[in-house]
Symmetry: C2
Subunit: 202 residues, 2 copies
DNA sequence: TCAACGAGACAGAACGTTCTCCCTCGCATG
DNA sequence: CATGCGAGGGAGAACGTTCTGTCTCGTTGA
């Protein structure tokens, strides 16, 4: 997580920004292992030395890529929830944000699921970054669902995350509109079942 | 899809079998792009020449790996359905086969979802092999669910496949027992809703 | 006799990484 | 104001390693 800043101003380097944005675009679109450093520095229009001035290596660049994606997603979820009155609306807004992503052009699945497929080793920093992100997401969804009804939200949250994972995985392998529709129906089912606020089954 | 057979007997070469089994194990466990053919030929205890005698290249080996996985999965599903009386039992048997896989040691997610994460190009043979496999699976699930109730099965089948994709993706990133439990609950919900056999909502 | 396989050298390319050299700003100090 | 210094960046050579793929030659066994 190298974060170089201009010595004088507090702004981050332009070259670093270009580098990270280019890496994000290429890694997300084409994968990580199949993309060499040469591709990134060429399309970012920087030199090799510049890359290694800002990042300790390719792995560091990958971690920065995932870190940026993580921040963006947290921001997206915060924005989606903002302005919603009820918890139900908040869940629906989050679900809509997800389907908007799936329907958007250039959608290539979940950056974290894609990354972890290339880093199966649980001890690898990239793998662990994915696990941290997923832990945050599950916790966030659990808190959100807990505000609907009075039953424990853990199982429903896992259910929703499972649907999301499936939707994100299949969104670029099948008709995105159908995937989005299926996901939204599933989420609505979870919401409806929680709104009845029955006592726990177990 | 090179398929070399011994000229005299109709049996496939032992070296080829060793090669393919080794490739299956390593590709599934560690990914594809991060594994060189040196690893495969070393652990399969064959020479480089033998590999290129049976496969035209690494890509061909990857395709054979996925082809074998596809055949195994079709066999698993057929076995799971065999001996089940009702369609409901068949669906439950398929679901159990899936959760058995998730709970099994060495589970690393869906071989096809993992592979497609490394081959995002839709025109690539590996990517297309994944799409063919997924098409078959969705069709199979659709036929299976159509035998329960009298409502159109397409939406429910997409729902079940989405749950499966999520379960397979998260099965090696979270507690497999909880993932399996969540998946089975979701499948049971689909089955129950179909058993009520109400008329189509649309 | 002939196909399958082992052993290993080899080529050519791509990989990530480090290196030197030079230029150009911005700014702090004399 | 002038000077100089250091950081950021460009250009590119070079490192050693690894990769896929091809090659020759010897051996085995049906």
């Amino acid at each position: 997580m190298t974060r170089t800043t201009n010595a004088t101003s507090g702004k981050t380097s332009e070259a670093r920004t270009r580098l990270l944005n280019t890496a994000t675009r290429i890694f997300y679109t084409e994968g990580i292992h199949s993309v060499g450093i040469d591709r990134v520095i060429a399309e970012a229009q920087v030199t090799r030395a510049t890359l290694y001035r800002h990042f300790s290596g390719k792995e560091d660049l990958v971690l920065a890529y995932l870190d940026q994606a993580d921040r963006m997603m947290r921001g997206q979820l915060a924005d989606a929830q903002a302005g919603t009155g009820s918890a139900v609306d908040a869940v629906r807004a989050v679900a809509k944000a997800i389907t908007d992503g799936i329907r958007s052009q250039g959608f290539r699945g979940c950056a974290f699921l894609n990354a972890v497929a290339e880093y199966p080793d649980p001890t690898h920093p990239v793998h662990q970054a994915v696990l941290r992100h997923r832990e945050w997401f599950l916790d966030t969804v659990t808190d959100l669902l807990a505000r609907i009804g009075d039953t424990p939200a853990d199982a429903d949250a896992r259910h929703l995350v499972m649907l999301r994972d499936g939707a994100m995985a299949a969104g670029c392998l099948f008709d995105p509109a159908l995937i989005a529709d299926t996901f939204l129906r599933g989420v609505e089912g979870i919401v409806q079942s929680r709104m009845q606020a029955r006592t726990p089954v177990d």
